[in-house]
């Protein structure tokens, strides 16, 4: 039999009166979403590890297929956009709307630049003969050792990440417009920021595991 005090505590907990994470429900939900989305990428990276290990043909030399300097530039752009996003979040919390808006705009420019670089990289590889199912027969990429597994891992991983960057950009543009109108509270900017930093976090893993190793 429960004691009266414990029942009261349980009721308060189930009724939402207790906050075990010390965060608002919006922020808690955002974190839970980020965890689930991280698991999606985790699954994709495990799939990539599987393909790389299981393939009978050797994995192609990534320096022959990609320009690592160009990928490094993309990484620089994304890290820089994360810094401006963090600044925007803190500025919004401090009530400095002008700084928040300026940094949100910088972040949008950074995100758009990253997506443009990715579009260029995709276009370049597709023109060279890369397809989701592998390199076209007779193309230069076949000589470079590009296997169907490599193509699939590349397009799926970077494609999913790119779609997240695109969603992030849409969210940022809406946040910027609403901040300008005075309709987005500081917490709204923080939520957009969490998502944007998550996109950066995922890139850290893709950059290391796919492009460097």
């Amino acid at each position: 039999m429960e004691t009266g005090g414990h029942v009261t505590t349980m009721e308060a907990g189930w009724g939402g009166g207790v906050s075990p994470f010390g965060a608002t429900w919006q922020k808690t939900m955002m974190w839970i979403f980020i965890v689930t989305d991280a698991l999606l990428f985790s699954g994709l990276l495990c799939g990539y590890a599987f393909l790389r290990q299981a393939g009978a043909a050797p994995w192609p030399d990534r320096t022959q297929v990609f320009s690592i300097a160009f990928i490094a530039l993309m990484t620089f752009i994304l890290i820089t956009s994360s810094m401006t996003m963090g600044t925007a979040v803190t500025a919004a919390r401090l009530g400095d709307r002008k700084t928040a808006m300026a940094n949100l705009a910088f972040t949008i420019v950074g995100g758009a630049a990253f997506l443009s670089c990715q579009a260029y990289e995709w276009t370049h590889l597709i023109r060279e003969g890369a397809r989701l199912t592998g390199a076209l027969p007779g193309s230069e990429l076949v000589e470079k050792g590009v296997t169907p597994q490599f193509s699939q891992a590349f397009f799926v991983l970077t494609g999913f990440h790119g779609s997240h960057v695109f969603s992030g950009l849409v969210i940022l543009v809406i946040t910027l417009i609403r901040t300008r109108m005075g309709k987005t509270p500081a917490q709204g900017v923080e939520m957009a920021g969490l998502y944007w930093h998550f996109v950066d976090l995922v890139w850290v893993f893709i950059f290391t595991l796919f492009y460097l190793i």
Partner: protein, 113 residues
């Protein structure tokens, strides 16, 4: 964020984190030039990848300043589940590789079975 840090410059932490992330990225790119053994190179890159992820999560996403419950839920939730996924999926790739490379010397072929 501590009172002192906020008073000094609320944006300083982002600039420092950004600079450290860039230095780490350059170190990762330069690592290959040192012709380290492959295993050491991979371990080095993985270690720096985790440092970068921790810095982004801790400083940019403010997990360092959140209640520990939240930080543990996020970190352990992702790490443990990823580890389970990796442990159960990737070792199977060895079997696939063995099959695609042909039957092992001591293993009977389908005809012999």
């Amino acid at each position: 964020m501590s009172e002192t840090a906020s008073a000094a410059s609320p944006y300083r932490i982002y600039r420092i984190t950004w600079a450290i992330l860039l230095v780490i990225t350059v170190a990762m790119l330069a690592a290959e030039k040192f012709h380290l053994p492959r295993v050491f190179l991979i371990l080095f890159l993985l270690a720096f990848m985790m440092v970068k992820a921790t810095m982004i999560g801790g400083n940019f996403m403010h997990l360092r300043f959140e209640r520990r419950n939240l930080a543990w839920m996020v970190a352990l939730g992702i790490l443990v589940t990823s580890l389970i996924l990796y442990t159960f999926i990737t070792p199977e790739s060895w079997n696939v590789q063995t099959k695609s490379a042909g039957p092992a010397p001591n293993r009977p072929t389908l005809e012999q079975q």
